[in-house]
């Protein structure tokens, strides 16, 4: 069952720009394998203000805390640069 987390997290990027690890709840989660980015368009004309981006950035990745089983997570990267752990897919 996916679990909504919606908590800001610290993300560490690798040299080539992919998330390598993130710190959630004081624990470092290490990314395993190639994370996938997904950009979803918004209907910006229905919101107020002129947007600088027309899509939202989400990273779907597998990560593990210490030696525990890996989980699949969705990390949202907001326009202001903050990272939010959106979902824990289990």
């Amino acid at each position: 069952m996916p679990q909504i987390i919606d908590a800001p997290v610290q993300v560490e990027l690798s040299a080539d720009g992919d998330p390598r690890a993130f710190v959630w709840d004081r624990f470092e989660h290490t990314v395993i394998g190639q994370p996938q980015a997904v950009f979803t368009r918004t209907r910006w004309w229905e919101n107020t203000g002129t947007p600088t981006r027309i899509d939202t950035e989400l990273w779907r990745l597998d990560a593990a805390k210490g030696g525990e089983d890996q989980h699949r997570y969705d990390l949202r990267h907001d326009a202001d640069g903050t990272w939010v752990l959106a979902l824990d897919w289990g």
Partner: protein, 1150 residues
């Protein structure tokens, strides 16, 4: 490591790409790229700009086109592919030919071929047959990228692997070896959507299966991620559908990732694509390497491949030259000089030959002999067609062009310089503009194509960019705003850039209402931002109004062409691309004034049999100058605007050169630098001419010490430094660049001291030169303009009826036709109404008594068809209404309109009162619609309306005629008030209010308070020295020339939008004298004349009613009182107009 983008649409892919090539190349170079391709949709529209931008950014350019392909036999669409040109080697191959330029030529031909489809199948978008593409891709010329939009990619997208493989096999079977690559595109869209990672990885797998190279691209539409918004607007505009209604996925971009991503981001994408599928080892490295390898093959050499900067002229044989072009040119030029200067005397002739030798030396060293012969050939073609032609531009400064009859202005006597046109120091190709009759322009183009051959000639295109109104319309469309609301805003989008929309809202008083709405509405606020984003983006291309490209037989290997609106092929390159591409462009500009003058000459010939040769009219006719000085310049070329009238009034031209000076002064640069005032002071002896130094006097004498012309600046530089006129022109150009000023100053100071000028003189002349900047005007331009100015003034002076017929037919000027009609009336030339018995297809001169009048032509009747008009002209005259109906068979609408305006009055004995019955009769006619032949026979049977027995059927009143004056009717159906001026019905009101007639303004002293009224004929906001906007409104009350009212900033604020919108107006203001004959009015208040008239009528009606009521109450004394009140209402007290002036009787003559 860098990443080469192979698939990039620039903003020249209109309504698709949104970033200009310069920005794209700069961005790529900043990211460390060494290569960038631009592959515009359906063409090479941005190609030349891209190549130049790459050269400037220090990277290698690639070129391609994003083209639709179809099957040769079935015509079935095969989707879109990217066609990329290969770079060539300048080394000769085994066949002995170098491959340089081969790929680029094949690309040009491929694009042209795609556009041929639009001709063969009208309405079809450009598309290339695959067989033709295969043919062009031979000899290792092209690579075709099969990406997501190809038939292969579409099959992959819908998971139809067998279909994808079958489609790919077809491509492999038809295309030559090594001309195909699979294009992998991934925009990181949501799973299940196009642009997601899954179809991308399947494309990669397909390439591996088929053993084809796979390359990664980003199918770029914009430079940066934040421009994705602009691309959304482009999609909405392309589909003419609001964003909210656009189908996501098919019509709207899936997300905002189609930007020119840096190398790191592209490698990230590559990793995700490879990781998402099952690929062999090393797939990631192979994908990136194949991408680099293809970029390497597609890197073009700007010179070797594209031919940048190498001019090519038509082969000498095409223009009938069999010997060396230089020898031919010498022979023709010498002969021309002997003929042109036959009357100049020995010394003049020698001087002309010396000048020719001087010019020919440059022509020889630059190798431009063929160019001059080519232009002269075109001029000969035009003249042989019997069409008026006149050269314009700096080429007029050449005695060579004069000798070849390319130009008709004598350059030596007019002080024009060859070096302003051409010198070894000039880096750009020469430019000669030919003005011809506008009505015959297309005939000339066709003849030029015929003479030179379609492989050497093409029309030039022009890129139309978004401006305020278009931008706000398309932004409003994207947001789905109501048309009427957007139209209301668009109407106000003028006189400022859309980019400055927000600033304009804050500053301009007439926009205050809109600004308030914007503050209230989030949607309007968004609209303002979106409008600014669209500003300046290319919107569409169209044929340039005058550019014709002439080249050798390789033209179509260097530019793609597509059909223009008029059918002839048009290059996809615009004027900015000509010089870099070495394309010779000739401006053959249709000038309506030339057509108008030709029409006048023709009409005069038709009526009198006399032939006027305008080009031989003496240039010193006193009557012509008298007319010009009287500032009755309406309709005269170049000097008819309110501002020009004022300057002409002050300058009082006496000789031809004065006209050249006048036209050159009336330019933004000189105006802003106060040059007219300084010149006028010296001209009228208010100050002594200041030549700074006796050695400058010969240079500055003609303009009384004021530097006006480029030629004078060049001569000054030459006199100061001895640098030669060619280099002097380079210095002159650099004056416009602030960073160059100190360099030029140092050069001037050093050399001038050595040439005997003292420091003080140098200081003073340098101040003048530096202040001149790049302003001013080439005297060659001024003189070339002055000639038609003089010729048209001469025609107006001596043949006003014929001249006005020409003006009305070809409408060359700034004023509305209705004002020209008013001018004819003032000049005593009667304008005769529309009459089916006499009216032709254009304005004709008719004898009226001893004089001449002008007959309104049939096309002025709005709503009538070409066929109807042709039948009327063909069957004239008509014996009866029946005859007219039978032979012309007009549609009901036309028939009624003809009756209303009086064009059928000849059938009712010109008795206007009978029009009611005529109209009623026509309206009562019943019948079924029939198609008729042009040569329909007629029966001479009078229609019953004329045959009534007994008393006249005059009780009929047509509601269409009732209460309307003849002028009203004419304005409704033709837009022109011929019978009388449209203001005439207000004359009683004018008399009552004390309105000053425009014709009397000049009799008033400055500072007089006046009321003016009339119809707005023009609105101008000329550039002003202090930068504050001033609005000039030209009012016509029918008494004479227009009265010019000036509204300064405070008045504009007080009046608001009415300054621009009210059509009939009443203005309160104060006279302002300018020069001997000039007077204008400073506007202080303004009212809508229609409202004033209505209110006034109501007041009078009320007064009348009150008087009657009073009369009923008390008979005896009130009768007299009531009668007095009635009289007062009926005969308003006539006030004296203005202050201290007598009343005007002009209104009485009405």
């Amino acid at each position: 490591m860098s990443f080469p983008h192979l698939h990039v649409a620039s903003a020249y892919s209109t309504h698709y790409g949104v970033t200009l090539p310069e920005a794209l190349a700069g961005q790529a170079a900043a990211d460390g790229a060494t290569f960038l391709a631009v592959t515009d949709r359906d063409g090479l529209y941005g190609a030349v700009k891209h190549v130049r931008a790459c050269v400037a950014a220090g990277i290698r350019p690639g070129l391609g086109a994003d083209l639709e392909v179809h099957d040769d036999d079935t015509l079935a669409p095969l989707g879109r592919v990217v066609v990329l040109a290969h770079g060539g080697s300048t080394e000769p191959s085994s066949t002995g030919q170098s491959s340089a330029g081969r790929g680029y030529a094949a690309l040009c031909r491929a694009v042209s071929s795609a556009h041929e489809t639009t001709v063969a199948r009208p309405g079809h978008p450009p598309s290339i047959p695959r067989g033709r593409l295969a043919e062009l891709a031979g000899l290792n010329s092209l690579t075709v990228l099969l990406g997501p939009a190809s038939d292969v990619g579409e099959a992959v997208e819908r998971r139809d692997n067998p279909g994808a493989r079958a489609n790919l096999v077809q491509w492999q079977r038809i295309m030559p070896p090594q001309s195909l690559a699979i294009e992998v595109v991934c925009h990181l869209a949501e799973p299940g959507m196009p642009g997601s990672v899954a179809p991308a990885t399947r494309m990669l797998a397909l390439a591996e299966y088929a053993r084809l190279p796979a390359v990664l691209s980003n199918a770029v539409r914009y430079g940066t991620a934040d421009e994705a918004v602009t691309a959304d607007l482009a999609d909405a505009a392309r589909h003419l559908t609001p964003l909210a209604q656009l189908q996501e996925v098919t019509s709207l971009q899936v997300n905002g990732q189609a930007w020119l991503k840096p190398a790191a981001a592209m490698r990230q994408v590559a990793r995700m694509v490879v990781d998402a599928g099952q690929h062999s080892d090393g797939a990631l490295a192979r994908l990136l390497r194949d991408t680099h390898d293809l970029a390497e093959r597609c890197a073009l050499d700007p010179v070797g491949d594209i031919g940048l900067g190498r001019p090519r002229m038509p082969e000498a044989s095409v223009i009938g030259v069999t010997r060396d072009p230089l020898a031919e040119l010498w022979a023709r030029a010498r002969h021309g000089i002997d003929e042109r200067y036959a009357d100049a005397g020995g010394r003049g002739l020698t001087a002309a030959h010396d000048r020719l030798a001087h010019e020919m030396a440059t022509v020889e060293s630059l190798g431009f002999a063929s160019y001059f012969l080519t232009v002269a050939t075109v001029a000969d073609i035009v003249r042989d067609m019997g069409i008026r032609i006149q050269a314009r531009g700096s080429g007029v400064g050449s005695v060579l062009n004069y000798a070849l009859h390319t130009s008709s202005v004598e350059p030596i006597g007019n002080g024009l310089l060859w070096e302003r046109f051409l010198s070894p120091e000039r880096q750009t190709l020469p430019d000669i503009d030919l003005d011809v009759e506008s009505a015959r322009r297309h005939d000339i183009y066709r003849k030029v194509f015929e003479t030179f051959g379609a492989s050497r000639v093409s029309l030039m295109s022009m890129t139309n960019a978004y401006r305020g109104r278009g931008a706000v319309r398309d932004a409003g469309l994207a947001l789905g705003m109501p048309d009427t609301q957007v139209a209301t805003i668009a109407k106000q989008m003028w006189r400022f850039n859309a980019r400055d929309f927000r600033a304009a809202l804050a500053e301009k008083p007439e926009l205050e209402e809109l600004a308030a709405e914007v503050r209230e509405s989030a949607q309007l606020d968004l609209l303002v931002d979106l409008t600014a984003r669209l500003d300046r983006l290319p919107r569409h291309i169209s044929v340039h109004p005058c550019g014709v490209i002439l080249s050798d037989a390789s033209l179509l290997d260097r530019t793609p062409v597509q059909a223009s609106g008029m059918g002839l092929p048009m290059s996809q390159f615009d004027k900015h691309d000509m010089d870099p591409m070495g394309l010779i462009k000739l401006d053959i500009l249709g000038v309506r004034m030339q057509s108008a003058m030709a029409h006048a000459v023709e009409e005069h010939h038709r009526l009198t049999g006399e032939h006027i040769d305008l080009d031989r009219v003496p240039l010193d006719d006193p009557a012509t100058f008298e007319l010009i000085r009287s500032i009755r310049t309406l309709g005269i070329f170049q000097i008819e605007s309110p501002g020009q009238m004022e300057l002409v009034g002050k300058l009082q031209p006496e000789v031809f050169n004065d006209l050249t000076v006048e036209i050159s002064l009336f330019r933004p640069g000189p105006m802003q630098n106060n040059m007219p005032l300084r010149y006028l002071e010296a001209r009228h002896g208010e100050v002594a001419p200041d030549y700074i130094h006796p050695r400058f006097e010969p240079i500055l004498r003609e303009t009384n010490g004021v530097v006006i012309f480029h030629e004078q600046v060049m001569r000054l530089f030459d006199e100061l430094t001895g640098c030669g006129l060619g280099h002097a022109d380079v210095l002159r150009r650099h004056l416009g660049k602030p960073e160059q000023l100190s360099v030029i100053e140092a050069y001037v100071r050093e050399n001038a001291l050595g040439r005997g000028f003292d420091a003080r003189t140098i200081d003073r002349v340098w101040t003048v030169l530096a202040g001149f900047g790049s302003f001013g005007f080439a005297k060659a331009h001024g003189a070339a303009f002055a000639l038609p100015t003089y010729q048209s003034a001469w025609l107006k002076t001596h043949h006003p009826a014929a001249f006005l017929a020409g003006l009305l037919t070809h409408d060359p000027g700034m004023w509305p036709k209705d004002l020209l009609v008013a001018e004819a009336r003032v000049l005593g030339v009667p304008v005769l109404g529309l009459d089916v018995q006499h009216s032709a297809l254009d304005y004709r001169v008719e004898s009226v008594g001893a004089g001449q009048g002008i007959r309104m032509p049939l096309p002025e009747l709005s709503g009538s068809s070409d066929a109807e008009r042709a039948r009327i002209v063909r069957h004239q005259p008509f014996t009866s209404l029946q005859d007219f109906r039978d032979r012309v068979h007009p549609r009901r609408r036309t028939f009624e309109a003809l009756a209303r305006v009086g064009a059928l009055d000849s059938f009712i004995d010109h008795d206007r009162t009978r029009r009611h019955e005529l109209l009623a009769h026509i309206q009562s006619l019943r019948g079924t619609a029939i198609t008729i032949a042009d040569d329909q026979l007629a029966f001479e049977v009078p229609l019953p309306v004329l045959d009534y027995e007994g008393p006249r059927f005059d009780t009929v009143t047509s509601l269409q005629l009732r209460g309307r004056t003849q002028s009203d009717l004419e304005l409704l159906d033709t837009g022109l008030a011929v019978a009388g001026h449209r203001m005439r019905k207000y004359y009683p009101l004018f008399a009552e209010l004390g309105v000053t007639p425009a014709a009397q303004l000049a009799t008033l002293p400055g500072g007089t308070d006046v009321l003016l009224a009339g119809v707005r004929r023009a609105t101008n906001t000329p550039p002003m020295r202090d930068g504050r906007r001033v609005v000039f409104v030209s009012l016509d009350d029918g008494t004479g020339p227009v009265a010019n009212v000036v509204f300064f900033h405070d008045a504009q604020e007080r009046i608001g939008g009415g300054v621009f919108q009210t059509e009939l107006m009443l203005v309160r203001g104060r006279t302002r004298r300018s020069g001997a004959r000039g007077v204008s009015v400073t506007g202080e208040g303004m009212w809508d004349l229609v409202t004033v008239a209505r209110d006034r009528a109501r007041e009078q009606a009320k007064a009348l009613k009150a008087a009657r009521a009073a009369a009923l109450l008390d008979t005896e004394p009130a009768v007299a009182e009531g009668a007095a009140a009635t009289a007062a209402a009926r005969q308003p007290i006539r006030r004296a107009a203005g202050s201290g002036t007598t009343e005007f009787d002009l209104w009485q003559s009405a």
